[in-house]
């Protein structure tokens, strides 16, 4: 798509988005409420100062905003930089620049101030004026000059207590959030292609802190954290967005003789064959790119009535490939390893057992194959079951580049 076409698509996607007719009235009413609140706060602050209260701004405003006593707002600063007032001021100022607004009450509070191999890190929280259902404040990390992991402070809702610090995300910083965390440095696959991780406890020091070196993780994240068997997403992952992986499905001609009519195929039958929703094959605790990978699912039937399903599962740049072949309604997936990541265009080629044929697929490509002879035979579509005698595949991409791969 050209830039002009992108512009066109964005315009069309928003063409019917219009403001509600009463927006101006709502804005003016809301704006007036904010002005009144602001004046109330200023007046309360002035009264507190005049009374000579030594309770500080948070204490002085408690009557107007009786939010819960969040530890991050109230406990004394901890960490080896807790006495470095210049750093505390700098961290608070950076936080105020990033998060601050009219609704912030008082000064940001630094809960932890730490020196780490990636530079100083602070955990900061600030209170805001709030109403029912609204957050009592904000909290997050100041990692060097970067503010990250900003979250709302809400009663009973834990806040992220882990940061992957530094440009290379190679320093793990954990602070005490009242939960027992477990940490896994990396993941791998077992012989069945399932994701395997080993977790060990995150042990905090007397200050409630763990600072540890971890492998550099710039574009893909290997580490994972969990609490009570639920994933914990660390802060500092700007640039790593997780999301759904698109699915490419190809239903090959002739599948009906093995699977029956698609319209009458019960969903639970396919669920037993497909792996992409099974927890054991996913990295439930890790964070991975949703794109640009694509899951493949090629379903068909052999001439003698065997069902087969060739599928891929994507985790970042890893593409695991599986085949399942069965003459009955259930089958056992066989893990075939990782698709060759050095190929610029992923080409799936899977030889089925017992000389049942070769499944090939290459998204959007024109395909030809040949056996021992020199004659090339054209394939209909970009996925097919080829005869077992097929030995070479020719792939012509949408943009015209052609290359050949062996079907050994």
């Amino acid at each position: 798509m050209t830039e002009t076409e992108i512009r066109d698509v964005l315009e069309r996607a928003t063409s019917d988005v219009t403001t509600p007719p009463d927006l101006l009235d709502r804005v003016r009413a809301g704006g007036r409420r904010r002005m009144i609140r602001r004046r109330t706060v200023l007046a309360a602050g002035a009264a507190t100062v005049a009374a000579g209260s030594g309770a500080g701004l948070l204490g002085g405003l408690r009557g107007h905003d009786p939010g819960p006593a969040f530890a991050r707002l109230t406990l004394p600063t901890r960490g080896d930089l807790a006495g470095d007032t210049a750093y505390l001021r700098r961290a608070a100022a950076r936080w105020r620049d990033h998060v601050g607004g009219d609704s912030m009450i008082g000064e940001p509070h630094v809960s932890w101030a730490l020196s780490t191999p990636a530079g100083p890190v602070a955990v900061v929280a600030s209170r805001v004026m709030s109403g029912p259902g609204q957050p009592a404040g904000w909290t997050g990390f100041v990692d060097g000059d970067r503010v990250t992991g900003v979250e709302a402070l809400r009663p009973g809702v834990p806040n992220t207590e882990v940061l992957l610090a530094g440009r290379d995300r190679d320093v793990l910083v954990a602070v005490d959030g009242g939960r027992h965390l477990e940490y896994s440095p990396d993941f791998g696959y077992d012989e069945q292609g399932r994701v395997r991780r080993t977790f060990r406890p995150v042990i905090l020091d007397a200050d409630g802190v763990l600072v540890a070196r971890v492998p550099s993780q710039i574009s893909r994240l290997r580490t994972a954290l969990r609490h009570d068997h639920a994933p914990v997403r660390p802060a500092g992952l700007d640039g790593i967005a997780s999301g759904p992986v698109p699915l490419l499905t190809r239903l090959l001609p002739g599948r009906e003789r093995a699977w029956g009519d698609d319209a009458t195929l019960a969903p639970d039958v396919l669920d037993r064959w497909e792996l992409r929703n099974r927890a054991a094959y996913l990295d439930e605790y890790g964070v991975h790119h949703g794109t640009p990978g694509t899951h493949w699912c090629v379903r068909g039937g052999t001439p003698d009535g065997h069902r087969f399903l060739v599928q891929t599962l994507v985790l970042d740049s890893d593409v695991r490939i599986f085949r399942t072949v069965s003459a009955t309604t259930t089958g056992t997936p066989v893990y075939l390893g990782l698709l060759n990541s050095s190929e610029t265009v992923p080409v799936i080629r899977v030889r089925l057992p017992n000389s049942l044929g070769v499944v090939v697929a290459a998204e959007g490509a024109r395909l030809r194959y040949r056996g021992g002879s020199a004659d090339w035979l054209v394939v209909a579509g970009d996925a097919a079951l080829l005869p077992d005698a097929a030995r070479e595949l020719e792939v012509t991409q949408r943009r015209g580049r052609t290359f050949r791969v062996p079907l050994s």
Partner: protein
């Protein structure tokens, strides 16, 4: 008018809010969240209208980007409601509804700053320097974010490219 901003605030809201809402919609991927976001930003501007230096629209854009990024972060793992829950396809606009769904899904897959760079650069058609001001970063950062975001957007929208191009040429 002792208790509010200058009358030109009303003109600003009337003339600029739709454009801001469209930006907010693509930043959040959710129409209701976008309306809340725009209202929030405009209320904030109402309070400090006299003290806003420079173009109010630039101020609004910057606030939208900041707040949408913070919202995205604070939502954490909570899934956003699919667009289909909020927007019912009308027969006459089914093509645009499909495009909107695909665009929103594709933008959601981008990191927030890439998303902001693409939306401001290609929906608002802003020069790089203006986008840099809105995102509070250097022009180089805008260019790299926009380029990366555009690549990923292209990849995500590739399946619908043929449809869009065909329809445009038939108009």
């Amino acid at each position: 008018m002792p208790d509010g901003p200058r009358p030109d605030f009303d003109d600003f809201v009337r003339t600029r809010s739709t454009g801001l809402l469209r930006v907010a919609f693509l930043l959040t991927g959710d129409r209701h969240a976008a309306e809340d976001l725009v209202q929030e930003v405009l209320e904030q501007m109402y309070v400090k209208w006299r003290r806003i230096e420079g173009a109010p629209e630039a101020y609004a854009r910057r606030a939208l980007v900041n707040r949408s990024t913070n919202r995205w972060r604070s939502r954490g793992r909570r899934p956003e409601a699919p667009l289909a829950y909020h927007d019912v396809a009308e027969p006459d606009h089914s093509e645009d509804v499909a495009i909107r769904g695909a665009v929103v899904d594709a933008l959601r897959s981008l990191p927030p700053r890439q998303r902001a760079a693409v939306v401001l650069r290609y929906l608002d058609d802003l020069p790089v320097s203006e986008v840099a001001r809105a995102m509070d970063c250097t022009e180089g950062t805008v260019k790299s974010n926009a380029a990366r975001g555009l690549d990923r957007l292209r990849a995500a929208l590739a399946p619908m490219a043929v449809t869009v191009i065909t329809e445009r040429s038939a108009r």
